[in-house]
C-alpha cells in the first residue's frame, strides 16, 4: 500500500479541491500531518464553522453571516444602483476600490447551455424581484462569450422596465504598454476608442 489508509483518504479529499493536483494534495497532506494538533483542530473548526454559519444574503445573494449581508445592511450604500457580478469574489475586487457606493448582486455563475446552466440555475429571479426603485443596473460580468451573453440576456429583461443598464468598458490596462497588450485587448481598445 502506497499510503496508510487515513493519509490516503486525506489526500483524496484534498485532491478534489479546485486547483489542487495529486502532487499538491500529497504535499498539503504531509504538511498537515506535521502541524501541531491545535493547528489542525483550528483549521477543521474553521471549515466546519464557515459551513455552518454562512448562508447567502437574501437580497444580494453574496455569502453572509446574517440574513442580510453587511453591504445590504449598510444605510450609507446607495440602493438605486446595483452592480451585477458572477461570483462573490468579484465583489471583493470592486470593494477594494472604495469607490463604488451602490449595492451588489451575485448571480453565482454565467449562462452556459453547454454546461446546462440556464437562467433558472442562476440567481436571476432574485435580481428581478429587487429592482423596484433601482435607477441603474451595472452589468459587471467578465468580458467572455458567456459573460457577454449573460449581460445581453439581463439587459433584455431589465431595459424594458425603464431602468438604465450599463456594462463595464474594456480596453487598455491603465499604465500598460501597447507593445505588451494582447491583441484582443488592443483590438477592443481600438474599436472603443474615444475622442479627446
Amino acid at each position: 500500500m502506497l499510503f496508510a489508509r487515513p493519509l490516503a483518504d486525506l489526500i483524496a479529499e484534498l485532491e478534489r479541491l479546485p486547483g489542487i493536483g495529486p502532487k499538491s494534495a500529497q504535499r498539503l497532506a504531509y504538511h498537515l500531518l506535521r502541524l501541531p494538533s491545535a493547528d489542525t483542530e483550528r483549521l477543521a473548526q474553521a471549515i466546519l464553522a464557515a459551513k455552518a454559519k454562512l448562508r447567502f444574503c437574501e437580497l444580494c445573494q453574496n455569502v453572509s453571516e446574517h440574513e442580510r449581508c453587511e453591504i445590504c445592511r449598510d444605510p450609507r450604500r446607495d440602493s438605486h444602483q446595483i452592480c451585477v457580478v458572477a461570483e462573490p469574489r468579484d465583489i471583493a475586487a470592486i470593494e477594494r476600490l472604495h469607490e463604488f457606493r451602490g449595492q451588489f448582486h451575485v448571480l453565482h455563475g454565467l449562462l452556459s447551455p453547454m454546461d446546462a446552466i440556464g437562467p433558472e440555475q442562476l440567481r436571476m429571479r432574485e435580481l428581478l424581484s429587487r429592482l423596484e426603485g433601482v435607477e441603474e443596473v451595472i452589468l459587471a460580468t467578465n468580458p467572455t462569450t458567456e459573460g457577454d451573453a449573460t449581460a445581453l440576456y439581463l439587459a433584455k429583461l431589465i431595459k424594458p422596465l425603464g431602468i438604465k443598464v450599463t456594462r463595464l468598458a474594456h480596453g487598455m490596462p491603465v499604465g500598460g504598454e501597447l507593445d505588451y497588450a494582447d491583441s484582443a485587448t488592443l483590438l477592443s481598445a481600438l474599436n472603443y476608442r474615444r475622442e479627446l
Binding site: 449562462l111 453547454m114 446546462a116 458567456e146 457577454d148 449573460t150 491583441s183 484582443a184
Partner: protein, 375 residues
C-alpha cells in the same frame, strides 16, 4: 519588381534566424541557423525532411501539418517535444512545447502565452504539401480551414472573431438541443445569436475580401506555372446575410428548423469556396493533376497576397511537391519560387530537383536519420 520595394528593416522582422528541435518527430536534437534566402533539404524519404518543415510550420501556426495529431509528434522514448525559433534577428523567440498527455503550450520570449493561438501571426508562412490536396477535392471544412489559417496569420482580429464565433455557436447548438425537450424563451437564444451575428458578419467580411483579392492572384500564379486552364475562386454562402443585422434576423427566422435539426443551419461555419477550373467545378470534375495545380496556385496567390498585407513575403514551405510534377511544371514552379519567394524551405529527394535558379542561391542540407548536414 516587387522585391525592390522592401526596406531592409522590414525583411529582417519576419525571417527565421534560428531553429531548434528537441524530441520532435525523429529528431532528438537538431539546430539550424537559416539565412534570408533559400534552403533545400535533400535526402531519402522518411529521414526527417518534412518534419523540419513541419517544425517551422508549428511555430508559425501552432499546428502540425494538415491531419496530423499532436501527440504523435513526440519522438519515441521522449516525454516532450520543444520547437523553438528566433525571429527579428534573434530578438524574439517563439516556441511550442508539448508534454506527453499534456496540452500544447506556446511561449513568446520564454513566457507561456495564455492561449497557444496567441503565437499566430508572429512568423507568417505559406506551406504547400501533398496533404493539402483536400483543400480542392475535399469537404467544405477543408477550404474553411485554409481561409481561417491564412487570415489568422495576417489579422489578429480575424482569429479573435473566429474563436468567439465558434464559442457562441457551440452554446447556441447546445441550447437548440435543450429546446427539443423543453421550452426555451427567445431571450435565451438572442444572447448567443447577437454575438454570433457580430462575429459571424465580421468573418464573412474578411473572407470575402480575402477571396476577392486571392482569385486574380491565384489565376496569375496558375498562368505563370504554365497551366493553360483558367482558375477562379469565389466565396459561397448558403444564406444571403451580409450584415450583422441580417445574419441575426436569419438566425431568429431559422430557430424552429434549427431546433428540429439540433444544429445551426445558417452562418459562416457552413460557407465554402467554389473553385472553377477551366469553367468547370474543380472539386467534382478536376483531374488529380488539375486539383494539385489549383492547390499550388492558391497557395502561391496567398503568398503574394500576404506579401502585400505584411510588406514582405511570408516564409514559403514547399514539401516534396516537385517530385509529383512533370519536368515542365516543376521547372516553372522553381522559377516562380526563385522570382517571388523571400525566405524559403524546400524538400526533395535529390537537390537537383530544385533547379539551377534556386540552387545557385540556396543552402543545401543533407537530411538523414534525424540529422542535418550542410553541404
Amino acid at each position: 519588381m516587387k522585391e525592390a520595394q522592401f526596406t531592409e528593416k522590414a525583411v529582417e522582422t519576419l525571417r527565421l534566424t534560428g531553429l531548434i528541435l528537441e524530441g520532435f518527430r525523429n529528431y532528438r536534437h537538431a539546430a539550424l541557423e537559416p539565412n534570408a534566402g533559400f534552403h533545400v533539404l535533400a535526402g531519402p524519404n522518411a529521414q526527417g525532411k518534412t518534419s523540419l518543415l513541419e517544425a517551422i510550420y508549428l511555430i508559425s501556426t501552432t499546428r502540425l501539418l494538415r491531419g496530423m495529431r499532436d501527440a504523435e509528434a513526440i519522438r519515441e522514448g521522449e516525454d516532450r517535444f520543444r520547437v523553438e525559433g528566433s525571429v527579428a534577428q534573434g530578438r524574439t523567440s517563439l516556441a511550442v512545447t508539448l508534454e506527453r498527455g499534456g496540452r500544447k503550450r506556446a511561449l513568446l520570449n520564454g513566457v507561456g502565452l495564455p492561449r497557444a493561438a496567441d503565437l499566430i501571426g508572429r512568423l507568417p508562412s505559406v506551406c504547400i504539401t501533398a496533404l493539402d490536396l483536400p483543400m480542392v477535392s475535399g469537404e467544405p471544412g477543408e477550404r474553411r480551414m485554409f481561409l481561417d489559417l491564412e487570415l489568422s496569420q495576417v489579422y489578429p482580429a480575424y482569429l479573435r472573431a473566429l474563436s468567439l464565433y465558434k464559442r457562441a455557436l457551440e452554446q447556441r447548438n447546445a441550447l437548440l438541443k435543450q429546446a427539443q425537450d423543453r421550452f426555451v424563451p427567445d431571450e435565451s437564444f438572442s444572447a448567443w445569436e447577437a454575438q454570433m451575428a457580430t462575429y459571424g458578419a465580421s468573418l464573412r467580411d474578411y473572407r470575402r475580401r480575402f477571396v476577392e483579392e486571392l482569385s486574380p492572384l491565384a489565376a496569375e500564379a496558375q498562368a505563370e506555372l504554365g497551366e493553360g486552364e483558367s482558375l477562379k475562386i469565389t466565396y459561397v454562402s448558403r444564406d444571403e446575410a451580409l450584415t450583422a443585422a441580417e445574419y441575426e434576423a436569419a438566425l431568429v427566422q431559422n430557430r424552429r428548423q434549427d431546433i428540429a435539426r439540433g444544429t445551426t443551419t445558417a452562418g459562416p461555419h457552413r460557407d465554402d469556396l467554389s473553385l472553377t477550373i477551366a469553367g468547370r467545378d474543380g472539386r467534382l470534375y478536376g483531374s488529380q493533376g488539375q486539383q494539385r495545380s489549383a492547390v499550388i496556385a492558391m497557395k502561391l496567390g496567398t503568398l503574394e497576397l500576404m506579401r502585400d498585407k505584411l510588406g514582405e513575403p511570408p516564409i514559403l514551405l514547399l514539401d516534396d511537391m516537385l517530385s509529383d510534377l512533370d519536368a515542365g511544371r516543376r521547372a516553372r514552379l522553381c522559377q516562380w519560387v526563385a522570382r517571388h519567394a523571400g525566405q524559403a524551405f524546400l524538400t526533395c529527394t535529390e537537390a537537383t530537383a530544385a533547379g539551377d535558379e534556386i540552387l545557385d542561391r540556396a543552402t543545401v542540407y543533407r537530411v538523414q536519420n534525424g540529422t542535418l548536414e550542410a553541404l
